[in-house]
């Protein structure tokens, strides 16, 4: 249904995160974090609330200041050109005070990319066909998140960052978003997503990064992680126990 378009994607991988520390005010959120995100992987970032997952994603997207350490994309530091090839879907989608179509047109305008037909196709793909004139903020939670994903897809990102994209969503939206994530991966995008849903992590992940208290405790192949987690914290987390 969707053409593979790998050659058009700018290569931003591997993403190397080296000794990254990030603070918000006086709180150290990420503490000397290091990891490597492989090309065309679906890396699922898991960990308890407040572990630093969302800030990790935002830092990769260049939205937070780095205290120490570095992030490189295929050996290049983050810059506007690289950021223009990334797309981020936030846990709580921010939609413009306009209708669905105008929200998409805004991205088209920002990216100087004329894409009437592309927008139509993307809205169809995320199940929002015929919603053009509906005020975006009157959409349901699932529809809002799908519109947010549609905006990200319009960018044709090399790196797609998704912060708990299916939290509290209905099964239809969840299934659709997961299908799109897999399709984008097949097209060559590198996906990094955070989730609390272990079943989703198992369904999607090629790699797992496990966070706890601002540190990465494990980064490994998803099958290995779920079969044999190395740390006791990861074992407890997978078993649904509270991490103190």
């Amino acid at each position: 249904m969707y053409k593979s378009n790998k050659k058009n994607l700018m290569k931003l991988t591997p993403i190397e995160v080296i000794d990254l520390s990030v603070s918000l005010g006086k709180d150290l959120i990420l503490d000397k974090v290091s990891c490597s995100i492989k090309n065309n992987s679906i890396t699922v970032v898991i960990g308890p609330n407040g572990a630093g997952k969302s800030i990790f994603l935002q830092t990769i997207n260049g939205l937070t200041n780095i205290d120490n350490g570095k992030i490189t994309f295929n050996k290049i530091y983050n810059n506007d050109e690289i950021r223009n090839k990334q797309a981020m879907v936030f846990q709580t989608p921010t939609l413009l005070r306009r209708n669905v179509k105008s929200n998409m047109d805004f991205v088209s305008n920002v990216k100087n990319k004329n894409g009437k037909l592309i927008i139509k196709n993307i809205l169809k793909r995320v199940g929002l066909e015929g919603y053009d004139n509906k005020p975006a903020r009157l959409l349901s939670g699932g529809e809002k998140q799908r519109l947010s994903l549609a905006r990200a897809l319009f960018i044709e990102p090399s790196v797609l960052l998704l912060d708990e994209p299916t939290a509290n969503l209905d099964p239809f939206s969840l299934k659709l978003i997961e299908e799109i994530i897999l399709e984008e991966s097949k097209k060559g995008a590198t996906i990094i997503l955070t989730t609390h849903d272990m079943a989703q992590a198992k369904r999607l992940a090629s790699d797992i990064i496990f966070f706890n208290k601002g540190k990465i405790l494990e980064q490994t192949d998803a099958n290995v992680f779920f079969r044999n987690p190395l740390t006791k914290e990861a074992k407890k987390y997978i078993n649904g126990e509270i991490l103190l």
Binding site: Q58, L63, Q86, T94, R97, V110, R137
Partner: protein, 235 residues
């Protein structure tokens, strides 16, 4: 009581017979307030937006200043403008005292702080809301500003109408710098003040009714727009 009823009857007669003097005063009021509002918007909207989205040393002082100036007493503004444009003042050479131009300047000084302060609050709120999204999308500043102003259009319209309300109902400043000269600088509010002092309540009341009608109409339009915007969650 009879005097009041007579005054009401007279006022309706003046309004519905399209009294020439009445409409001359009305048109001048709308012209002076309209031009001062337009000029205030040209200054206030960009300045308010700038204050909302830029960080610089002394920004808080500017915001406090403009917020304070929202409550400027009109007679004080009138007096200052009078001193500036009177023959012995620094701008006396312009020869604009007791002209509609001086009245426009006085009204601009009164309503520009309202436009600046309220625009700044509105744009700051929406820019905070869009901050992460726009940073993630790498939205250029000029496109971000256009988006803020467009998406806050209903709230900004409220600000503009609040400015218009202040301008059209103002009397203290325009009477000082305009002089309330018949067929030249006489506007609705100054006429109401004059005719009331002369005991000619019918014309004063007629103008009062028109003033109220203008306020009611603008508020009605505003409320309708806001209801429409709220239904769509555009505010």
């Amino acid at each position: 009581m009879n005097i009041l009823l007579e005054a009401f009857a007279k006022s309706f007669e003046l309004v519905f017979t399209l009294n020439e003097d009445l409409f001359e005063i009305l048109l001048l009021s709308l012209k002076v307030s309209g031009i001062s509002l337009l000029l205030s918007c040209l200054i206030g909207l960009p300045l308010g937006t700038f204050l909302a989205i830029k960080s610089f040393w002394g920004k808080d002082a500017f915001l406090v200043l403009f917020n304070t100036m929202m409550g400027l007493p009109p007679v004080v503004v009138g007096l200052i403008v009078y001193l500036l444009v009177s023959r012995s003042g620094p701008f006396g050479w312009l020869g604009i005292l007791y002209t509609p131009t001086a009245m426009i300047i006085a009204q601009m000084i009164l309503i520009t702080p309202i436009i600046v302060s309220l625009t700044s609050q509105i744009i700051e709120e929406i820019s905070q809301e869009y901050k992460s999204l726009f940073a993630s999308l790498v939205v250029p500043s000029h496109k971000a500003i256009i988006a803020y102003l467009f998406d806050a259009r209903y709230s900004i319209l409220t600000v503009v109408l609040a400015g218009f309300g202040r301008a059209i109902s103002e009397v203290g400043a325009v009477i000082i710098v305009g002089g309330n000269i018949d067929h030249l600088t006489r506007v609705m509010t100054t006429t109401i003040a004059l005719e009331t002092s002369k005991g000619n309540l019918s014309l004063a009341l007629a103008l009062g009714i028109i003033l109220l009608s203008i306020a009611l109409t603008t508020n009605f339009i505003l409320i309708r727009l806001k209801i429409r915007a709220k239904r769509r969650m555009y505010v």
